[in-house]
Amino acid sequence: MSDYPTFPKWRHNETYLVQTNRKSLIYTAAETYLKPVDPCCPRTVVHPKARIIAEAGPIVIGEGNLIEEQALIINSYPENITPESEVEPKTMTIGMNNVFEVGCVSQALKIGDNNVIESKADVGRNVILTSGCIIGAFCQVNTCEVIPENTVIYGSGCMRRVQTERPQPQTLQLDFLMKILPNYHHLKKTVKAGHNAS
């Protein structure tokens, strides 16, 4: 726990630029603890107020991801284990070109490529998302299964169907955001050692 950077008290609109490898812009508000996010997520845009909490193990995020506001990606301890006991840390892996929309909660340990987790969706810890899955808005998926490719989960009853195409990667949006977001948010360079400035 002492690894957490101690952030000074922030004013409301300030964000925090943590520059990692090339072309990665991570704008975070004071609530983002990046312990220890491997410095290998190029072309990923993390919006302000997103929370990526690596409590019980590291989180590896691939490239081209879009993590929107108030999204919560958390690698937490399973419920019935107290933090004191020794648990082997499990790595949470997130692939490429995923979209985590506003307000979603993702605890899935393995997420593949090209998935979309829509607003306020809740993905449990024992779910494994393969590629091309779309978890619809406000759907709660906390079963213990591997979701097959190209599945769409939608509706209040979490109906499922298989779609024929995978969702397209949001390259246009990512480029746009990378240009625009620095204009609208205050940036503060981190003083953290061990990160290379691009």
């Binding site: 169907r161 024929t164 195409e165």
Partner: protein, 462 residues
């Protein structure tokens, strides 16, 4: 607490053909009969048809022709959401020079909710943005059309025979049963439930054409039925491929069993309706014709004529112990209203639901008129009403808070319900003012209306 403001906490009784209890926001007030009306004691008439997504208006005849469907908009066969047209760029060979390819726009339909696309069913992308999509043909259309024509002719013929019989035997009083078999909805016929097909006679043939005899073949009865496929019991079912009952029955023509045969259908039209009081035949609610407008030409809703009772706060209710409940009364009209409350009598036939005894204030409550400009008028003098502090808790422009005493009588698990009668004066501005003999302007006569109100106060405190 917001749950105290839920509409079904306070219900008013409507004395129509049936006794209906409904919140005031769902009731109408006929100011010619001076009575409350609910949706079940008014007659509904169709005003106009419109599509809910493109808001296109359609006259009723055109709507009937298109089977009440919009021509431009589609519904997703999977989740019934509205489909939107999306465009992609595909390389296509130029018509002049087959070797070169240019980017052409291709359109397909997609659903934003369940991500269904028209490519899932195998529908090719179209090059026009709208109007290119065809619904699949129903294989039984011809037979159905022939059957409809035959029955129209039959109905017309029977109607003529009945009319002839009616004229011939006019002296005997014909009961109502001898009117048209597939008749139009006259007022008398509409009131009878279970009226038979009424729209066929509207489309009946004209007089000169009934010479053509249409005959139909009876449907052939088959001895052998198609056998089930052999692997019907052994083949594993892939659930995403099977359509749900709802998806299947929304397309009664085909009722496809596989998801790959679900074609989009045109969107259903909605309609605007107007309401008419059954006793005096005046319109109670008439919306505007334009589908984009939510206003009404005539809007005689009950909340704008009858004072509304609302629950403000409920203390802990205990069995056989008296507690004070705070209610508010709001005056919707612009003149001063006098309201008297009365508890229900012993043998009141309306009082079937109440589980508690109630003591209402015996004095008359005076409500100030609703003044729309009051919030902007700083020089307004505060009105001086002598309020008894035991009865009236507070007073605020046209609203007044008052106490009632409740003694729950039953110690059961359900809600404590309380009912009382509210009597107020109503000035009917709609009725024509009879010229008085003195020649001066007389204000509209006040009549006293009584309503039966029931409140649901929630469960007893544990």
């Amino acid at each position: 607490m917001a749950s105290l403001l839920q509409p079904d906490r306070v219900v008013y009784l409507v004395r129509g053909e049936k006794r209906i209890r409904a919140p005031l926001s769902q009731l109408y007030f006929c100011r010619y009969c001076s009575e409350l009306r609910s949706l079940e004691c008014v007659s509904h008439e169709v005003d106009s048809h419109y599509c809910p997504s493109c808001l296109e208006n359609m006259p009723s005849a055109e709507a009937k022709l298109k089977k009440n469907r919009c021509a431009n908009c589609f519904d997703c066969p999977c989740c019934m959401h509205t489909l939107s047209t999306r465009a992609t760029n595909i390389p296509a060979p130029l018509p002049d020079d087959p070797t070169k390819t240019a980017m052409k726009k291709a359109y397909y339909l997609a659903c934003g909710f369940c991500r269904w696309t028209s490519r899932d069913v195998g529908m090719a992308d179209k090059s026009v943005a709208s109007g290119g999509w065809q619904e699949p043909e129903n294989p039984h259309t011809q037979r159905i059309n022939k059957l409809i024509e035959y029955y129209q002719q039959l109905a017309h013929r029977e109607k003529q025979e009945r009319d002839r019989k009616k004229l011939a035997r006019r002296r005997q009083c014909m009961p109502l049963a001898f009117s048209e078999k597939y008749g139009l909805g006259t007022r008398l016929q509409r009131q009878r439930s279970g009226a038979p097909i009424s729209n066929l006679a509207g489309l009946s043939l004209k007089e000169g054409e009934d010479q053509k005899e249409i005959s139909i073949e009876p449907a052939p009865a088959l001895d052998e039925v198609e056998p089930l496929p052999e692997d019907c019991y052994t083949r594993p079912i892939s659930l995403p491929e099977v359509t749900t009952l709802r998806q299947r029955l929304l397309q009664p023509d085909f009722q496809p069993a596989g998801a790959s045969q679900l074609h989009p259908r045109h969107k259903h039209l909605l309609m605007k309706r107007s309401l008419r009081c059954r006793k005096c035949e005046h319109n109670l609610s008439k919306p505007e014709f334009n589908p984009t407008s939510i206003k009404f030409k005539i809007q005689l809703v009950a909340v704008s004529y009858i004072p509304e009772v609302r629950i403000m706060s409920i203390p802990n209710l205990r069995f056989m112990k008296e507690s004070q409940v705070l209610l508010t009364l709001t005056n919707p009209v612009e003149n001063i209203t006098h309201v008297t409350l009365a508890a229900c009598e012993e043998e009141d036939p309306d009082e079937i639901n109440s589980t508690a005894k109630v003591m209402v204030p015996s004095k008359e409550l005076v409500l100030a008129g609703k003044d729309a400009a009051a919030e902007y008028d700083e020089l307004a003098e505060p009105q001086d009403f002598q309020d008894d502090p035991d009865v009236v808790a507070f007073r605020k422009s046209n609203k007044i808070g008052f106490f009632i005493k409740v003694i729950p009588q039953k110690e059961e698990d359900g809600d404590v319900t309380v009912s009382f009668k509210i009597r107020h004066d109503f000035r009917n501005l709609a009725a024509p003012i009879k010229p008085s003999e003195e020649g001066g302007d007389t204000p509209a006569e006040a009549i006293w209306l009584t309503h039966h109100v029931e409140l649901s106060l929630g469960p007893l405190a544990p």
